[in-house]
Symmetry: D2
Subunit: 247 residues, 4 copies
Amino acid sequence: MAKRNATAAVIGAGDFIGSAIAKKFAAEGFLIFAGRRNADKLAPLTTAIEAASGEIVARGLDARREDDITGFLRDADAHAPLEVCIFNVGGNVNFPLLDTTERVFRKVWELGCYAGFLTGREAARLMLPRGKGCIFFTGATASVRGGAGYAAFASAKHGLRAVAQSMARELGPQNIHVAHLIIDAGVDTAFVRERIRQRAGEEALAKLAPDQLMHPASVAEAYWQLYRQPRDAWTFELDVRPYREVW
Amino acid sequence: MAKRNATAAVIGAGDFIGSAIAKKFAAEGFLIFAGRRNADKLAPLTTAIEAASGEIVARGLDARREDDITGFLRDADAHAPLEVCIFNVGGNVNFPLLDTTERVFRKVWELGCYAGFLTGREAARLMLPRGKGCIFFTGATASVRGGAGYAAFASAKHGLRAVAQSMARELGPQNIHVAHLIIDAGVDTAFVRERIRQRAGEEALAKLAPDQLMHPASVAEAYWQLYRQPRDAWTFELDVRPYREVW
Amino acid sequence: MAKRNATAAVIGAGDFIGSAIAKKFAAEGFLIFAGRRNADKLAPLTTAIEAASGEIVARGLDARREDDITGFLRDADAHAPLEVCIFNVGGNVNFPLLDTTERVFRKVWELGCYAGFLTGREAARLMLPRGKGCIFFTGATASVRGGAGYAAFASAKHGLRAVAQSMARELGPQNIHVAHLIIDAGVDTAFVRERIRQRAGEEALAKLAPDQLMHPASVAEAYWQLYRQPRDAWTFELDVRPYREVW
Amino acid sequence: MAKRNATAAVIGAGDFIGSAIAKKFAAEGFLIFAGRRNADKLAPLTTAIEAASGEIVARGLDARREDDITGFLRDADAHAPLEVCIFNVGGNVNFPLLDTTERVFRKVWELGCYAGFLTGREAARLMLPRGKGCIFFTGATASVRGGAGYAAFASAKHGLRAVAQSMARELGPQNIHVAHLIIDAGVDTAFVRERIRQRAGEEALAKLAPDQLMHPASVAEAYWQLYRQPRDAWTFELDVRPYREVW
């Protein structure tokens, strides 16, 4: 693999989509800066990337703290120019309205929206002097739909989408590609399979068609294709879902 | 005017749209509970409503404080059953991305989105036992468009819209009418006229056509019509703009 | 009732929403020009309006024929100035894609979109010299969502919405109020009740809550409120659904 | 180049985007079936593809005729299994509402929407028995916005988008990937450059930044990436615009 003198930062490098994105960009020669709340949980990702001869710096960070975000991205940029920055922090919760505490509402926003703003702004600050870079945000169905029980989550996701759109309009002409991906289904995880089992029974789980759930690597591919777009034909927003998904 | 045994609360009872809504509902016999940051600034509204034989309780409140919101609405409900609750807190700002401090981003959200969530949730809590009520949110162009320079404001407004939509879906079947109004233009105020003068010159200001700017009373009428809708034909969202507006 | 020297034309004056609109505007003093394919079917509407001392001219017309539309509206305008024109032609069909013949696709478009364009354009032509008027279009869920099986219907409804939006932007500044209503549920008709019975059983039908289905008169009220909006606070689009609707 | 036993049909193989798509898929080993109104105008495309050792069948067709569409696609499928079908027929026009004749309105719809329906339906008919295929539709800004003067064009484009969405929902679970691309800017053509010169002057034209206009090949790349998406992570809709575009 040809190494690049470039960093790809993934904030919210969870076990599934975040890790798959990190692996993909590592495989393409980027130095990966991977951050998530619990640094220990990054061990499998680090092992996997290094086993494939990729480079990764794994860090614990609290995405709700400005200092953590700016410190993380500046360090990333100090290792090699920050060329790609992906914000993938989740926080999907569902509560009846009256059970949604102010603490939950605030925390879901801090993780899902405020942290995204801090990430995008700091990445822009580092990229603008070089006039080049990509900033991608992971969205969800809740980014465009406020379903019952999703006051907190949909509010944060709508807010993040507005941040991304505003940034795209301001930064695009300065050659920074900002994009927002609407991931409109669950990825294939033990958690999702268990939920299917509980909701629809063992049989439904056994009858899942091939590729009915999204593989994280397939989702990561969408981020990679966005990275590869020539600047005269950039996409701001795309939806991603498996072929059998009902929407 | 026939008095009703019902309160209409207006959180964000500013000089223009908020005050106009308060006057309209007062004129229809509601007891008005009007709140804004600075209680002193509610004096003209109080005078106007009382001069027209309406009833109003004016209160200062910090919409970003859960206790202020819940206390305000519970007091309102204690005076007379809370039937209408309108969240009209603004906070329009425009900053280049890099100049948008975390403090601004957070404050705009707290005012424009978080306070709306607190308001809607508390109103719902008071209305649900009676199985009846209206909760309306004031939106803006930024509720559906993240323009350059609007990362903070559009994010808050998108977030508020998601709160409203989620509440509408959950509370509608329980006979609570939740609606979101997209106010897509400026109202006729000294501030807006001055901005036109600065941007387009004295002549442009002089040439403003009649009704080219929105009168607050006309906007307030839209809230009143939403209130009057029969429950078998409710509107969740409508846009409002003057006839000459370019959109 | 005070008579106005003004006509309200309803193209697509079907038994439910269209007739309810006609009755409402008749009750407000408008001369009604009501058109639908089969003139005979307008007899009950005529009887009802005349029994209430309203005025109506009922005409059969083929909305897909330019001459029929222009002749109808010119006649209306000759009786009294055309102030309101409402396009309410339906045509909801659902076919699997491969069973959607070119004949169906074309006919649904001609009824649902092309006829709306002809109506709106001719109404504008008559209203513009007087610098005043309202043109309202009936939309549906399919106006904003292309569900499976709705290639023909959703395509026509999306197309009609675009016509309305384009007209609103061009005609608004000339004081013509163009609006589009998204009617997002079924009205209370024998047909709808029968469909519920077939799908969900006799019991589901018996358990329908009060106001769970929309009364045509309630929907008509939304058109009337749009008519009454002052021109400094016009709505282009609003959705209408009953409080218990899942959306 | 490895040849595939597969056809990619391009209906609306114009000089720019359509031809670029054809060249890209030809370069990837597809047999190209290229159709446009005037067969003679396909000569340069044929020459270019054959010079690059690609295979192409060029045909004149009237996209508004069902027989032409079905005959074209069936022939394509007879040469090699139809795996990709791209509908790229344009027809952008702008007329004031009153100058939009019924003839223009109908023709723009027949080209931009009806032909797309015929194309998609016939492609589906051929692909479904093999349980595999891609059907992509070229959209525009007017697909989601009804601007002043665009009653005809936006109506057709909205209608086409609804067809695509309806097809995606019905055919996705049957392993047919349907997508809709919103091409939100002009490509770099003599026509577009001339329009810039007329509107903004010679100087504006001279000052165009590199990549400010879209190269057709860059747009074609987006279609190719859609083709390459794994079925567990399909995109239905994406927007494409150059980095400096104001939107």
